[in-house]
């Protein structure tokens, strides 16, 4: 049987003996292990059995235990058999966001206000410290300064901190002055050199345009290619794999049975390598599961015999740093497809009962 050594196994043996005497005979002829591999059974609540007797199975699934004095009558007949559950470990592989999220209108207005306030409190700009007089850069600076109506800053609009209207430092709702996109355009326009080395102003058609920065939305976003990792750059992506085909197809996080020789994180790493290939640089964040999901066992209504064993899946969190999922024909886990999805997209893809179990490990926004 199990190879758990020491005190735990002694406890287990004692409890098993008591359970065998208590529980109905339906599990005596049931052998849960079809192969030679040993898997953990759910004996997590065994050691606290004496002080915290188990509730009926429906409550037990939520991890609720009551003290003996709180319990009106002990009901040993309804204590669930550990053999009714198998323990699995899964991994929720995530890709961290690569970009900061977009600012809210309030944040835009706040930052603009702070800049204008700072304008009133700092020393005035001294161009002579930065530009040698009558050089091309100095002429360029003066040309651009004139176009900004003498405001040295490029991103605060027309605002004079020492003028008569210095108090008027806020803009109307919906004003483009505080829009980050507008600020970026202003800065890029300012980066363009407009005076030649000879000090002559360059005509608009001869100016060298500044290279545009990369957009927030990538090509994969436009094509809605959910297999690529360079999509939804400001959100966390989660890996889901497809098992089975046709009607039985099911999107889920990679998971597999925990063997007796393995800890949860080791199983998670093994399962990930089996399901998604080894061409990834991943890192499992801690050894503590971030979510768990319980599938209740099924019993035969007439005889009360166990028909299908329940499952307890413990999910660990992983990060992908580089690489991509590679699926081969002879995939060990029977994975046929994969997707990198955001939190919102996962809601309709993974099973309806799984989503509430793992929801709390997702990013907040």
């Amino acid at each position: 049987m199990m190879s758990a050594p020491g005190r735990g196994s002694a406890l287990l043996r004692k409890d098993l003996r008591s359970v065998h005497s208590l529980v109905t005979t339906e599990d005596t002829d049931y052998d849960p292990r079809p192969d030679s591999r040993h898997f953990y059974e759910d004996d997590s609540a065994r050691s606290v059995h004496d002080e915290y007797p188990r509730l009926p199975p429906t409550l037990c699934h939520r991890g609720i235990y009551l003290r003996r004095d709180h319990l009106p009558t002990t009901t040993p007949q309804t204590a669930p058999n550990p053999r009714h559950y198998t323990i699995q470990a899964g991994i929720i592989l995530t890709r961290a966001p690569l970009l900061t999220r977009e600012q809210t209108p309030f944040e835009n207005a706040f930052y603009l206000y702070q800049k204008r306030l700072n304008e009133r409190l700092t020393a005035p700009f001294r161009p002579a410290f930065y530009f040698k007089p009558d050089t091309a850069l100095d002429l360029d600076w003066r040309l651009k300064l004139r176009e900004r109506h003498g405001v040295p800053a490029k991103d605060i609009g027309r605002y004079n901190p020492r003028g008569r209207m210095a108090w008027n430092d806020e803009v109307m709702v919906g004003s483009p002055v505080c829009d980050p996109e507008n600020i970026r355009e202003k800065l890029l326009a300012d980066a363009e050199l407009r005076v030649s080395e000879d000090g002559e102003p360059i005509p608009a058609e001869d100016r060298v345009p500044v290279e545009r920065p990369m957009p927030r939305r990538t090509e994969a976003d436009e094509k809605r290619d959910t297999k690529r990792l360079d999509r939804a750059l400001d959100k966390t992506l989660y890996l889901v794999v497809k098992k089975g085909s046709g009607e039985q197809a099911r999107w889920e996080f990679p998971c597999g049975l925990v063997t007796t020789e393995e800890a949860l994180h080791e199983t998670a790493a093994r399962v990930l390598a089996e399901a998604a290939g080894v061409n990834m640089n991943t890192w499992i964040v801690g050894r503590v599961p971030v979510a768990h999901h319980v599938v209740a066992p099924e019993f035969d209504e007439a005889t009360g015999a166990l028909r299908n064993r329940g499952t307890k899946i413990f999910y660990l969190k992983g990060r992908i740093l580089a690489g991509q999922v590679t699926l081969t024909k002879d995939n060990l886990r029977g994975v046929t497809d994969f997707q990198w999805l955001t939190k919102d997209e996962l809601n309709g893809v993974i099973p309806r009962d799984l989503y509430p179990s793992v929801r709390n490990m997702f990013e907040l926004r």
Partner: protein
């Protein structure tokens, strides 16, 4: 000025009521604040003290330099803004965390690949062995351009190069290492002062 609560509720003024404390007495019990009808003597107002009092100091605002908003563009095209004293509107970085091997350990294109088209590195290895190579260790790396004969010769040299490495390993502690270095090396020439040298030669002549 409106009627603020602070103006309505004033603290009781005790200046006219408190008795003056004469310096001759070490301990004077304070007279009751509300004078009883029996003792209705009014104490005189306290005189100004000669010592200086410092109520407040004007602290001028720190003078900070003028700051601009600058757009910083990383090597992969992503941008962010910073506040800086530089009037430059756009800053492009050539080398940053997006294209450096330290932050991208699995990026093969960033690895330092040896380019040896002229065969100079192979020639150096043929002559001096591979002990100078940073990666791979001594005697491990073999130059691809070298032939079988060269490789055989290299093996011998590599063994020689590997010998000091083994020697280093047998030093168990740091003390052993230091004492090993402190031993006098007889093969080193010199080490004698001119005076001692002259003395020695004088003795030889005799």
């Amino acid at each position: 000025m409106g009627k603020l609560p602070s103006t309505l509720l004033r603290r009781p003024c005790l200046t006219g009521r408190l008795p003056t404390i004469s310096p001759g007495f070490t301990h004077t019990p304070l007279a009751p604040l509300i004078p009883s009808p029996a003792t209705t003597t009014i104490t005189p107002l306290p005189t100004l003290r000669p010592t200086q009092v410092r109520h407040a100091t004007f602290i001028p605002r720190h003078r900070r330099p003028y700051q601009f908003t600058q757009l910083v563009q990383l090597s992969d095209g992503s941008t962010f803004t910073v506040r800086t004293t530089s009037p430059q509107a756009l800053y492009r970085s050539d080398k940053d965390s997006r294209n450096h091997i330290l932050w991208n350990p699995s990026e093969a294109s960033l690895r330092n690949v040896e380019v040896d088209e002229a065969g100079k590195l192979a020639a150096f290895r043929e002559r001096y062995g591979t002990a100078w190579d940073l990666e791979g260790g001594a005697g491990k790396g073999a130059a691809p351009a070298a032939g079988d004969k060269d490789a055989a010769g290299k093996k011998g040299e590599a063994k020689d190069a590997a010998a000091p490495a083994q020697e280093e390993e047998q030093h168990d502690s740091l003390v052993d290492l230091i004492s090993a270095f402190a031993t006098v090396d007889n093969s080193v020439k010199g080490g004698m002062s001119a005076k001692a040298q002259a003395k020695l030669e004088k003795g030889k002549k005799k």
